[in-house]
């Protein structure tokens, strides 16, 4: 009987556990998590922090779900090390859990701002359900906010402030939000969305240090220009540190994440990885890549489990990811890898509609759609098909995209 151990009960770990039970009904499966609750919907916790969604619909699995599938779930359990020779996982309580095959799916922890007083009361990071509960509780009483981190995670704080009636300044280091994927034209639509909910973007700023009162509660953020922004609520989202400390000495190849191939196999035999923590080989891109979306993590967990159960390279991970922002009156969707590419095409259609497509070697590798999501299926299809279409970008920038207007693919 094969013993599978999964470290992490996020969507990738949980998806793997479910798939392993289906693929290998007689096996032993153990899921270990340092959190105190089983799988919940990490996409929806921001809605809870905004004060719009109660807790119950965010829970996905209760402990009964694991019992029904004969999956051993260990909550509040910290893995301290992995002995790859003995094939044993060690926990903080001194338990030794043997494995035949191991899945690492521990994701990351928000990066703390490396500035003075960044651990003051009232400064929040946003990753777990517990974080969301604390943010909601504080936000309901706060009056003036500061947000740091001009990316996809930071904008959730802007939405929390907007929904909770907190007037806020959004301090950005560059001249626009998500400057790696948006031009000024696209970013300005997002800036206007922020302003409409009471959040003011501040450019060429950031945080030099925080000020606190005698009780250690944040009272202001001071940016590198010396400008002072009073606040009693701060949301900081500048990135993730991957949770790999317990793997020190295990020999897994890492490069700002755990390196896996397209089968989710790490550089160490019988150890796989899935979810945010991986730098996976993206078969569509032809190089290593990272992705933090829910769908990608879920699929990586499933693919890893298929290959773990098959004990061979049975299925490769091939996926076009999506990430949406649903906080404003207009929709926003990024897909694939919009921050990379050697060529880009973009167009603005109205005050709330904009599109940008990223190409690499002439092929679509990602993009951002604001306001009008109608071409998302066609653009994702082109990315999956790996068609060289950059020289026909005009067709893809038409308001309504018709793939039949593209020249037929060349025979290889």
């Amino acid at each position: 009987m094969t013993q599978y151990v999964i470290i992490g009960d996020g969507i990738s770990g949980s998806s793997a556990a479910e798939t392993l039970r289906e693929e290998d009904p007689e096996s032993e499966i153990t899921v270990i998590t340092d959190e105190g609750e089983s799988l919940y919907n990490r996409i929806l916790i921001k809605e809870h922090a905004k004060g719009k969604l109660p807790e119950a619909p965010i829970s996905i699995h209760d402990e009964e779900w694991y019992d029904e599938r004969d999956i051993d779930l260990s909550l509040n359990t910290f893995v301290t090390s992995v002995d790859t020779d003995a094939k044993v996982v060690n926990t903080h309580e001194g338990e030794e859990i043997p494995y035949d095959k191991l899945l690492v799916a521990t994701g990351g922890t928000p990066t703390q701002l490396p500035v003075e007083n960044s651990d003051a009361d009232g400064i929040h990071h946003f990753w777990t359900f517990q974080d969301a509960r604390a943010i909601r509780e504080h936000a309901e009483q706060a009056n003036k906010g500061v947000i740091v981190g001009a990316g996809l995670l930071g904008i959730d704080f802007a939405a929390v402030c907007g929904a909770q009636g907190i007037e806020a300044d959004y301090l950005m280091r560059g001249d626009r939000w998500w400057r790696y994927a948006l031009s000024g034209a696209g970013a300005e639509i997002m800036h206007e969305g922020m302003r409409e909910v009471g959040v003011e973007p501040v450019f060429d700023s950031g945080v030099d240090h925080f000020e606190t009162d005698d009780d250690g509660h944040v009272t202001a953020a001071v940016d590198p220009n010396g400008d002072r922004y009073e606040c009693d609520f701060v949301g900081a989202a500048i990135g993730l540190d991957f949770n790999t400390e317990y793997l020190d000495g295990a020999g897994l190849e890492q490069d700002n994440g755990i390196i896996v191939d397209e089968y989710m196999q790490t550089s160490v035999d019988d150890i796989y990885a899935a979810g945010d923590i991986t730098r996976f080989y993206d078969v569509l891109l032809g190089e290593q890549a990272q992705n933090g979306s829910w769908g990608s993590a879920k699929e990586q967990g499933r693919v890893a489990a298929v290959n773990m159960a098959a004990d061979e390279e049975a299925e490769q991970f091939e996926w076009v990811s999506s990430y949406s922002i649903t906080h404003f009156d207009f929709p926003f969707l990024s897909f694939g890898h919009p921050t990379i590419g050697d060529e880009h095409a973009e167009r603005k259609y109205s005050d709330t509609e904009w599109r940008r497509i990223a190409f690499k070697d002439g092929k679509v590798v990602g993009g951002v759609l604001i306001g009008d999501l109608s071409p998302q299926s066609q653009l994702k299809q082109l990315m999956r098909e790996q068609r060289e279409v950059a020289d026909q970008a005009e067709v893809l920038l038409e308001k309504s995209v018709d793939l039949d207007e593209l020249a037929p693919p060349q025979e290889q």
């Binding site: 996905i60 879920k298 949406s324 994702k380």
Partner: protein, 82 residues
């Protein structure tokens, strides 16, 4: 696409000939099934977007939409039989 179904408890509904529409809701009950659009596959997202942008019903068949569930998009929308 073959994805493990480790997500909200889904009601089993015969949807072969059912059209659905999306109705904006102001609040969500604790026992509601709620999904964010990022949990939808590309075809289902397209159906949601078509239903909302044209304010019309769409066939449920071929999508993952289930009457009664709430979809989080730019607002909260309950899936209703048309």
């Amino acid at each position: 696409m073959n994805m493990a179904a480790s997500e909200p408890r889904r009601r089993s509904v015969q949807l072969d000939r059912v059209d659905v529409r999306l109705e904006r809701v102001e609040s969500v009950a604790p026992d509601a099934t709620v999904r964010h659009v990022d949990q939808l596959d590309s075809d289902t997202l397209e159906a949601v977007y078509a239903a909302l942008s044209a304010d019309r019903s769409v066939p449920a068949a071929g999508t993952g939409l289930e009457p009664g569930e709430v979809i989080v998009f730019t607002d909260y929308f309950r899936v209703k039989r048309a």
